[in-house]
Each structure stands twice: as C-alpha cells, then as structure tokens.
C-alpha cells in the first residue's frame, strides 16, 4: 500500500537535483548571454549623441527671443545646467510655481544654473505684465509665439519643466505642476552634479 501511495502522491515538484542542474545551466548560459549582449562602446556613443525631447538624450537646440528682445540659443548655454519651464499665463498651476522658480533662480544663479521660462503662444505685453508685473520674476522669459518649440519638446501639458545638465543632456522632465521649491531643488541638484564654487 505504501508503494501505491507513493505512486499516487508523486512529489509536487521536480527533484532537487533538477533545480541544482538548472543553477549550473543558468550560470553557464547566463555568463554567455551577458557577454553576448554587452553594449558595444559605439552603441553607447551613438545613443548619447542623439538629440530628442526625452530623458537621456541631448536637448533639442532652438533659438528664441526674450521679452527684452535678446536672441538666445540653447546650445550657447552648454556647460551650464539649464531649467526650461514651458508655461502660459492662462494655465492655472503656472503662476503658482513661478515664485518657486524665481527662488530657485536666486538660489542657484551663483552656481551657474540658468532658469528659462518659455511662454507658449502669447505676446510680449501679456507675458511682461503677468510675470514681471504681477509675479515679480527676474529670470529670462522666452517667447514661443508659434508654439514651435513646445511641439518640438512634445509639450502636452502646462507647466512642463525640463532639467538639462552641463553636457546639454536632459536629466529629467516634470509634467504638470505646480512644483514647489524642494521639488525643484531636488531636480536641480541632479543636474548640478559637480557643484562649482559660487562665482560671486
């Protein structure tokens, strides 16, 4: 009867030696697969040289004019961490996070950080009246009047904040808001990887 019971109640799992054998197979095949799927140096460099509006890629270059009439090219800021904030006066969270962006600008300007507000589709007068007059910002405000840069960066919600490191590579994109100062500081600390001494 005992033997019959053993026949009926077979062990529920494969025997231990099966799993130990698999360990050996996994180790051998695994090492081979790791070696086979190593990333060639060229592939890393190829990916890193691409520009795209996403994390890990070089930020797409653009030329825009500030509300003061100064022309600014993003690639000219290479070597400095950049915070790119896409916003508009009609977007409810945008004015709420503006003071935090201004505080960030004041706090991190000595470390070379540049904060750029990119207004989406509004006139100089509207932007100036709102940002300079009502909110009291002092960081550069760019005018993306035809929304071309917004679409280039695939901005689908306002505000959208892009954090670009010294190499010009996008390290983080924060969709929506309002962001507060601690959240901005956390992201900026990532792009200020090696904090230079204050210039002042």
């Amino acid at each position: 009867m005992a033997d019959e019971l053993l026949m009926v109640n077979k062990p529920r799992m494969m025997p231990a030696r099966y799993w130990r054998g698999l360990m050996l197979v996994a180790l051998v095949l695994g090492t081979g697969w790791i070696n086979y799927s190593r990333l060639p140096a060229g592939a890393v460099q190829g990916e890193q040289a691409r520009s795209a509006a996403t994390v890990g890629f070089l930020a797409l270059d653009f030329i825009l004019t500030t509300t003061d009439g100064v022309t600014l090219r993003l690639s000219d800021l290479r070597g400095k961490p950049v915070v790119l904030n896409f916003w508009a006066t009609w977007c409810p969270p945008c004015p709420t996070e503006m003071p935090a962006l201004e505080a960030l600008w004041q706090q991190y300007q000595p470390y070379g950080v540049t904060v750029l507000g990119v207004d989406q589709g509004e006139s100089t007068a509207t932007v100036e009246r709102f940002a300079r007059g009502m909110v009291g910002t002092t960081f550069p405000l760019l005018l993306d009047t035809d929304l071309h840069i917004g679409s280039l960066y695939a901005v689908r919600a306002l505000p959208t904040t892009v954090f670009i490191d010294r190499e010009g590579r996008i390290q983080e994109i924060r969709l929506g808001g309002p962001l507060n100062l601690p959240m901005l500081v956390e992201s900026v600390e990532k792009i200020v990887a090696q904090k230079a001494a204050p210039e002042c």
Binding site: M1, A2, D3, L5, L6, N9, K10, P11, R12, M13, M14, P15, A16, R17, Y18, W19, R20, L22, M23, A26, L27, G30, T31, W33, I34, Y36, S37, R38, L39, P40, A41, A43, V44, E47, Q48, R50, A52, A53, T54, V55, G56, F57, A154, R156, A157, I173, R174, L175, G176, G177, L179, N180, L181, P182, M183, V185, E186, S187
Partner: protein, 269 residues
C-alpha cells in the same frame, strides 16, 4: 509616445495612470490568490487581513516616502510647512517608502496570523500583474526604451526604429502571472514567491539585452543583467530546497503508511 492622456477636458499623466492601474490590478489579483490559498474555513479571515495589510502598507509607505523626501529638504520645508501636503508624486522617496510598506505589511499579516508564506505567494501573483500594467505605462511614456532594430515589429521612437521592449516585458509579466495562477493549487507554501523571483529575474535577464542606454559596468556589461542572474540563482537554490522538503515529506508519509501496513499485517497474523 503618450506621456499624458487627455479625455473629457482632463489631462492625466500616463505614469500616474499606470501606477494607479498597477495598484488596483495587483491588489485584486493578490486578494483572489490569498482566497484560493486559504483553507475553506479561513478564506474570509485571510482575505480581510490581507486586504487591510495591503492598504495599510500602501498608505504608510506613501507617508514614509513623503516624510523621507521632506527630511532631505527639511530647511526648505521648515520655512513653509504647508508644502508637506503637496500631492505631487515627484515629491516622494520611493526607496524608503517601499521599505516602510514591506515592514508594515509583514507586521500586519503576522499580527492577524496569516502565514507569511501564503501572504508572500499571494503578493507574488499580485506583483506579476502589477508589473504587466507598469510595463504598459512605460511603453506609453517611452521610459526604458528599446535599442535600435530593423525587425518588422519595431516602433518608431525619436526618429529611430526600436525594439518595443516594454511590450516584451508586458508579455513576459502576463505569462508569469498566468503561470503562477495556474500553480496556485498544489504549490508548497512559499513556493510561488520563489517561482515569481525566478521567472521575473529570468525575464529581466533576457529582455534587458534589448534595452537601450542602460547602466553599464566595465566592458559594457549591463548592471541589471548581473543583478537578475544573481537573483535567478538564489531563486533556483530556494526551489531546490523546496524540492528536498517535498521529497522528505513524501518519504515520511510513505514510511508512516508502511509502518501502519506492517502493524495491521502482524495483528492479522
């Protein structure tokens, strides 16, 4: 890419949607699994205790993640305490939050006398379901994108045809969830947890090769593959241990029956 989804005048981040979806799918699957794992007389009790443990762990983990983030920037928060209530997911420390959630979950199931092995097995089934939903979210946002390819099913992302690696991950996670679900009946306590670790690490180990721009060590070795291989070996070792236990239990049963056979025979004689 769909980093945000707009409908009915609302714009919602795909990441947030995937996080909520994975939470709901994961908790539902885990709850159904614990009900099937429990003995009939304890089904209601285990199910209720597991549900409470899960949501308590989630809420405490969330609070822990928030407080941990605030502590890192305590000077800024001291100036404006109202910022602590910000609901933005970006202001969370996931690592400490996860640790707190696991501790709360373990304490809760222990307090309610739900066997740890059963809770771990049910969680494994839930985790597989949650991973599937998260993969879809990553596909929507383009996070963890694939390497360039010319396969016919490649997707165009940032001007390059790429492996839809997040969809591969989705398929693998669904397969893992289905396999674990099928093994719910008849598995040894704790076995499903180790099987989940085995299948999930195997999936990561294989699919990581199709991901672009990964973290690498010397000679271009992908970090995630090495970690996945280590976890895979741990899971196999644990399963070998389970098999040994199972064989021992079977042998013991047979020995007991043999002893009973002998005594019955001697009485008959």
């Amino acid at each position: 890419m769909w980093p945000v989804i707009s409908f009915a005048g609302l714009t919602i981040s795909s990441n947030l949607l995937a996080a909520v979806g994975s939470l709901l799918v994961g908790s539902e699957l885990a709850l159904r699994a614990i009900t099937r794992l429990a003995p009939p007389e304890k089904q209601a009790g285990w199910s209720q205790a597991f549900n409470q443990a899960f949501w308590s762990a989630f809420l405490m983990g969330l609070a822990g993640a928030r407080v941990s983030f605030a502590l890192r920037f305590y000077r800024l928060y001291l100036d404006a305490l109202q910022l602590l209530w910000s609901p933005r997911p970006g202001a969370l420390d996931t690592g400490p939050g996860l640790v707190i959630a696991v501790i709360v979950f373990l304490l809760w199931v222990r307090r309610k006398r739900v066997p740890l092995a059963g809770a771990a097995d049910a969680s494994a089934v839930g985790a597989a379901g949650a991973l599937a939903v998260l993969s879809l979210g990553r596909f929507a946002t383009g996070a963890g994108y694939g390497s360039p390819t010319d396969v016919p099913w490649g997707v165009d992302l940032w001007g390059v045809q790429r492996h839809p690696v997040q969809l591969y991950e989705f398929g693998a996670a669904v397969l893992v969830a289905a396999t674990l679900w099928q093994k719910l009946a008849g598995a040894l306590p704790g076995e499903l947890f180790w099987r989940f670790l085995l299948y999930a690490s195997l999936s990561e180990f294989v699919l990581a090769a199709f991901r672009a721009n990964p973290a690498t060590w010397v000679l271009g070795i992908r970090v995630s593959q090495v970690v996945a291989l280590a976890l895979l070996l741990v899971a196999l070792y644990a399963l070998a241990f389970f098999a040994q236990m199972d064989k021992g239990a079977q042998a013991e049963t047979a020995q007991n029956v043999r002893a009973t056979d002998d005594s019955v025979a001697s009485v008959r004689r």
